[in-house]
Amino acid sequence: MVNRVVVGAHYGMGSWLAQRITALIMAVYTVIVAIVVIDEAPFDYAEWRELFAEGWMRVATLLFAASLGWHAWVGARDIWMDYVKPDGLRLALQVSTILLVACYLGWTVQILWR
């Protein structure tokens, strides 16, 4: 039997957990990429291009971008919910945030698989 409670205190739990898991993914990516970049710097164009042509780098960067989008959505929504009281304005800002995140993701895919 489906027994979904549509009100209550637990609906933020999924977002809360997602924000923390995406944070860990991004932290791991940051440390690995920072080490690679600092280790191999300075780059010329060919080396830079080669780094982002690697399969693992493309997939990891896409995973980072997806994590960033989800993480940023939860964070931005928290900010709008805390400070913006008029419903219409808050909805508009939340929709704008989703569009912005979608643009970032699309742009990232375009950059990585050109």
Partner: protein
């Protein structure tokens, strides 16, 4: 305990002057609000700007050289990078502190204060280090 002079100023309401001049945030409070401010800055506009830089640097050799030798040599672009580096380092360090607090590590007041000082210090030190390297 509380003397009469202190008592007379109660209750205290939130206002811009109260926020700016009267309410003293404890250091963990500063870490928290700066985590929020740096997060907001990272979502917009810094992510858009970094995607632009990545895009230009990967699209062609001319784009790469333009970004490296001209665009990022402008003082205003370096200042922007410095803001990005601070925002990222602070958000990163404060975020790790919050993750540890979530699993009940360092929640006693002395430990929480010490880790707040550490977060502010380490992110400023990292900003100084990377700032030195890009300048």
């Amino acid at each position: 305990m509380a003397n009469a002079a202190l008592k007379r100023r109660r209750p205290k309401y939130l206002s811009l002057t109260a926020l700016l001049f009267e309410i003293r945030l404890p250091l963990p409070g500063w870490v928290s609000i700066l985590h929020r401010i740096s997060g907001a800055l990272l979502v917009f506009p810094l992510t858009a700007w970094l995607l632009y830089l990545l895009d230009q640097s990967l699209v062609s050799e001319e784009g790469f050289n333009h970004i490296k030798d001209h665009y990022l040599q402008m003082p205003v672009a370096k200042a922007g990078l410095l803001v990005f580096i601070w925002a990222f380092c602070h958000h990163f360090c404060a975020g790790i502190r919050f993750l540890l607090l979530d699993i009940n590590k360092g929640i006693e007041l002395p430990a929480a204060r010490a880790s707040a000082v550490l977060v502010l210090g380490v992110s400023l030190a990292l900003t100084a280090y990377f700032g030195y390297r890009i300048w």
